[in-house]
Amino acid sequence: MAQKIKQNRFFKYLFLILASVLCIYPLFWLITASLKTQEQYLESTLNLPWPLDFGNIIGAMQGGKFFLWFMNSGIITIGSVLFCTFASLVAAFAIVYMDFKGKQVILNSIISLMAVPIVVMIVPLYIFFARTHLMSTYPGVILIYAAICIPFSVYLMTSFFKTLPREIVEAAIVDGCGTFKILSKVLVPLSMPPVVTLIIVNALYVWNDLLIALIFLPKTEMRTLMVGITIFKSRFNLDVPLTMAGLLLISLPMILVYIIFQRFFVRGLTSGALKG
């Protein structure tokens, strides 16, 4: 019996370790490949790099406008996440705490938009943007990204507000709180857990997105990191170590953020999904 349990345990560890190695290895390989010279890489893709070569990292910094792309991604991500969070908080507040005609219809239509494929909207938006000069502008893409993030955010915030005890708002009314103050001073401080979820989910989506950025930001100086790295790759296609160095540059900050805030990521991404 004890023998069998030990054996079982061995297989469990084996599975977990094997899966973890498979998940981490591509990142490890990315690092090793970017520290090789072109000759070292062509000689063997599997070997560890030795002697280490930092030429690609420097080369990638010169070959790509990483700082500019990083700034563009940052501005767009912060802009759309702020807009979407504000809009969904205010709307969810109205839906849960106010009475108005058509409210259920509006809520249901917004929620069902979650299932609409994004690509369905690009043709009309492309033509609309070309006509209104919104193409390649920050406000234009921020508007699109915010709209895409809103259905899930409104859904999450309304279901959260519905779980709050009614007495909280009643007490605030008795204290003579104005309508907007009830939201900003009473409800928002209580809503931090779902708001963190929203920020993480939406920021990950906007930061990592390729489709919208590719179509609606055609100007070179408006490229985001994801578009930038895709173009960087096709430019240096044959120089694999240099491309890998570029990828390393853009993923390193993200991986560090993930390792430091792992707890928030895991909790943030799941709590929202489970509440619904």
Binding site: F15, P26, A33, V120, Y126, L143, I150, F265
Partner: protein, 293 residues
């Protein structure tokens, strides 16, 4: 209890949501139907009835794209099964489980373009995957993963599996952790083994979250795989890894002669397909819920 406000106030509160959603979703969804029946030149064009649809449905590329999207559904049972097994393994809190959790979830937060480019190089004919296979003597497995139309879609599926599994694991793990621990203890006393507990306790308790994950994955495989196809293979070789999103993108932005009308017709077909599938899935869900009662 509701707040007493002026009649107009709730609508003012809804404005920041209504304006972007109305423009991006409302306007576009109406226009895409309209555009799909026109020959677009510039900002609009002449009405040509269902000709765009005829063109799309006769286009062999579109047919391959639809089939490829449907083939991706093979991934769903695999994803669900592996996510259940690994979440249950993590749930046992073996030594170092947080490190395993962190590693298994890592792929999910990485951007698809980054993942796509890395794997694109790893799976080349002389790439690291084949070097490793030759090293351990499995030369016959060292195939042209992405260059051969027979294998390319399967390779793309491996990449998608690698990237998306983490979300399922974390989702299921969170559900497991909110479960009553006593059920496990009493099952153990009754002599239930690992698989017994998995099939008789874990899976029945997770039905709703498994269903949620399945619906999300169906939507993803139909309309959320653009970035994989675009960064790994650009839909090639031939149309071997073309998906509907990329077909629409190509017709709008990549060909020398953009065909927005055709792209719109394909968009409408994708939209209708997804809608029908989702309504269907929710029907099943309702029926299961009724049977349980």
């Amino acid at each position: 209890m509701t707040l007493k406000t002026r009649k107009i106030t709730p609508y003012l509160y809804m404005l920041p949501v209504i304006i972007p959603v109305g423009l991006v979703y409302g306007y576009s969804l109406v226009r895409v139907f309209d555009f799909s029946m026109r020959r677009i030149r510039g900002i609009t064009g002449v009405f040509i009835g269902l000709n765009n649809y005829k063109y799309v449905l006769q286009d062999p590329s579109f047919k391959s794209a639809v089939l490829n999207n449907l083939n991706l559904f093979i991934l769903i049972p695999v994803l669900v099964f592996l996510a259940i097994v690994f979440s249950y393994l993590l749930f046992e809190h073996l030594k170092g489980w947080k490190i395993y959790r962190g590693s298994l979830f890592m792929p999910y937060i990485l951007p698809i373009p980054v993942v796509g480019i890395i794997f694109g190089y790893m799976f080349t004919l002389h790439g690291v995957v084949n070097s490793f296979l030759r090293l351990i003597g499995l030369d016959f497995l060292a195939i042209d993963w992405l260059g051969d139309p027979k294998f390319a879609l399967w390779t793309l599926m491996i990449i998608i599996l690698w990237k998306e599994l983490g979300f399922g694991i974390i989702l299921f793990l969170a559900r497991l952790m909110s479960m009553d621990y006593e059920i496990f203890e009493s099952a153990e006393i009754d002599g239930a083994g690992w698989w017994g507990k998995l099939f008789y306790i874990v899976i029945p308790q997770m039905v709703s979250v498994i269903e949620f994950f399945t619906i999300i994955t169906v939507i993803n495989m139909l309309s959320w795989v653009f970035a994989y196809s675009y960064t790994v293979t650009l839909g090639g070789p031939g149309d071997a890894t073309l998906v509907m999103e990329l077909f629409i993108f190509n017709k709008l932005a990549r060909s020398q002669m953009p065909r927005p009308g055709i792209a719109s017709a394909a968009s409408v077909l994708l939209f209708l397909g997804t809608t029908i599938l989702i309504v269907f899935l929710f029907r099943i869900r309702k029926r299961i819920a009724q049977e349980e009662e």
